[in-house]
């Protein structure tokens, strides 16, 4: 129940993000969610797309350093306390969040939380045990 995420190395200079999105658009690749983590010198762009292999190939051939990592997508109701509830479970299991980001699906009823944990297996097991819905890559793209 993991989702493949594309990570791209970005130098901290103008036009890099525009370049990446333009190349993906040309190949009809749809971005479902993204986040940018940045430092003074560089950034890491993390993307959930509908065609991971094609996106990786496209970006690599355009000279970007690309990596694929597994993340967990958790679906929660888009209402007050949704994220807090998930994080409470995480804390109780003493799991550590490496990073996270979120988006709201089209209907606006549910939010999808993308997580990277230090211990992914344990995280999936605890979240499922506490009744959370974990989405697959296909499910995210179908949203």
């Amino acid at each position: 129940m993991r989702v493949e995420q594309i990570a791209v190395f970005l130098e901290n200079k103008s036009g890099r993000l525009a370049e990446i999105t333009a190349r993906l658009a040309e190949e009809n690749i749809n971005i479902r969610a993204l986040s940018v983590a940045d430092t003074a010198d560089f950034g890491i762009l993390r993307l959930i797309v509908d065609d991971v292999e094609k996106a990786k190939k496209t970006l690599k051939s355009n000279g970007f350093t690309v990596g694929i990592t597994n993340v967990i997508a958790v679906e929660v109701a888009d209402k007050t306390g949704g994220l807090a509830g998930v994080l409470k479970t995480i804390e109780a299991e003493r799991l550590n969040v490496e990073y996270m980001y979120a988006f709201v699906n089209k209907t606006g009823e549910n939010a999808v939380l993308i997580f990277r944990f230090d211990d992914m297996d344990k995280a999936i097991e605890s979240l499922q045990r506490t009744g959370y819905t974990i989405l697959s890559g296909e499910q995210i793209c179908a949203l």
Binding site: Q5, F9, I44, T65, G67
Partner: protein, 435 residues
């Protein structure tokens, strides 16, 4: 009136000087041939015997010594005396990680401190002075070399070494330092720190600064003189030949440094052909030591570009002057007084798992300090989706470089294929210092 330390040697007519040089050279070559196998082998291969040295011009028959010779005979292979006669060693960075090591007998240290005292006298320093020695103490020849010269001169030495700039200024103020010895970039750092501390250089007792160990421009000299309200003079030396005190600028003459020719025999050669160039022409500076015991050196190629000026100097010294070093024949960089070879950086990078050999060294002078940034292309092997992992990687490279060179640099990750690929020799260094 000119101050001399050893007036007779400093003002010898050239004929007299050359006869002393020849006698010392012949003695040196005979001794080295007898005691050091690597020198003997090279001379035999070149078909030259000690008795072939009949005039100073015959020096050109002898093979050159290069930094690689020191490395090949690391650490003590080129010493001419048993180690029980060696009382001190110094070392500077080599090209591939192993330092180049030099040694001194008791007499060598006496010679050195005498020459350093002579150098300081050229700058008008006397026994009455309070000398602030901000050259680094340690394996580097700068700190200790200057230190014993100051003591020999009879001046008071303040062995502050480098760093802790605010404290240095307090000491300078309270001890009433009159002479500053430092790298020129550190002198400017001191000046800048004085500004932020609101210390007026005019309120200090500083009169003269003796600067060396790194290249600096005439513009920088003007800036140091203006900001510190002192006279700034040049000193030159390198550990392979002795250390500071090989040549020194006088106060009276025009620019240029008097080479202490009674101890060091200079030549200027064409760096490509190795041919000796006529007086006044620009080329690579080569030194032969005439009086050193533990670690003499024959025709050492300094890779520094300079020229020799034999015209008479206003100070009355007959010793030849060398022009301020204007460049290098190799890719060595001098960062805050420390020799840095791109190959050393490469060595560190190649030792870091996953790092590809695409890198570039960018040197800048920010404010008054030299800064070095190492740009490394991010390959898939080292890339991570976590900031933490990438930052740990840059920190590790930074620490390894610091461990190897003693210089702090910034490590910057860049996108693949952004570092220019050159045809033939890669452009590894971008030096924006405009020296």
């Amino acid at each position: 009136m000119t101050l001399y330390w050893e007036e007779e040697m400093e003002t010898l007519p050239r004929v007299g000087l050359e006869s002393i040089q020849l006698k010392r050279l012949q003695h040196l070559v005979a001794r080295v041939y007898k005691t050091v196998a690597p020198y003997r082998e090279k001379m035999d291969a070149a078909g030259v015997k000690p008795e072939d040295i009949q005039s100073l011009a015959d020096l050109a028959k002898l093979p050159f010594t290069v930094k690689e010779d020191l490395r090949d005979n690391y650490p003590f292979g080129l010493f001419t005396v048993p180690m029980d006669q060696v009382v001190r060693v110094h070392a500077s960075s080599g090209t591939t990680g192993k330092p180049t090591v030099v040694g001194y007998t008791k007499k060598d240290l006496e010679t050195w401190s005498g020459l350093m005292a002579r150098a300081l006298t050229l700058a008008g320093v006397t026994a009455k002075d309070m000398v602030h020695n901000a050259y680094g103490y340690g394996l580097f020849t700068g700190g200790l070399g200057a230190h014993y010269g100051i003591e020999r001169l009879g001046a008071t030495v303040i062995p502050v070494s480098g760093g802790n700039t605010k404290r240095q200024i307090t000491i300078m103020k309270d001890f009433k330092s009159t002479v500053l010895l430092a790298t020129p970039s550190y002198a400017l750092n001191l000046a800048e720190t004085m500004e932020t501390l609101d210390v007026d250089p005019k309120s200090l007792s500083l009169r003269v600064g003796v600067f060396g160990a790194e290249p600096w421009s005439e513009n920088m000299r003007d800036e140091v003189e203006r900001k510190l309200n002192i006279k700034a003079v040049d000193i030159y030396g390198l550990s392979e030949v002795m250390g500071p005190g090989v040549s020194m600028q006088c106060l009276e003459g025009e620019k240029g440094m008097h080479i202490f020719e009674d101890h060091f025999l200079p030549e200027i050669i064409d760096p490509d052909t190795g041919e000796v160039l006529p007086p006044g022409e620009k080329g690579e500076l080569v030194f032969t030591t005439l009086t050193k015991e533990a670690f003499p050196i024959i025709r050492y190629r300094t890779k520094d570009i300079s020229r020799l000026m034999y015209d008479t100097c206003a100070c009355g010294r007959t010793l030849v002057r060398m022009e301020k070093v204007t460049g290098r024949t190799d890719d060595m960089l001098i960062i805050r007084g420390v020799n840095v070879f791109p190959s050393q950086i490469e060595h560190v990078l190649m030792g870091t798992e996953g790092v590809e050999p695409h890198y570039q060294i960018v040197v800048n002078r920010e404010g008054n300090m030299d800064t070095m940034a190492v740009e490394v292309e991010v390959s898939e092997d080292i890339f991570s989706d976590e900031i933490k992992a990438l930052e740990n990687l840059t920190k590790r490279i930074q620490m390894d470089i610091k461990d190897m060179l003693g210089v702090t640099c910034r490590v910057k990750l860049v996108e693949p294929r952004t570092i220019q690929r050159s045809e033939g020799k890669a452009q590894r260094v971008i030096d924006n210092r405009k020296l």
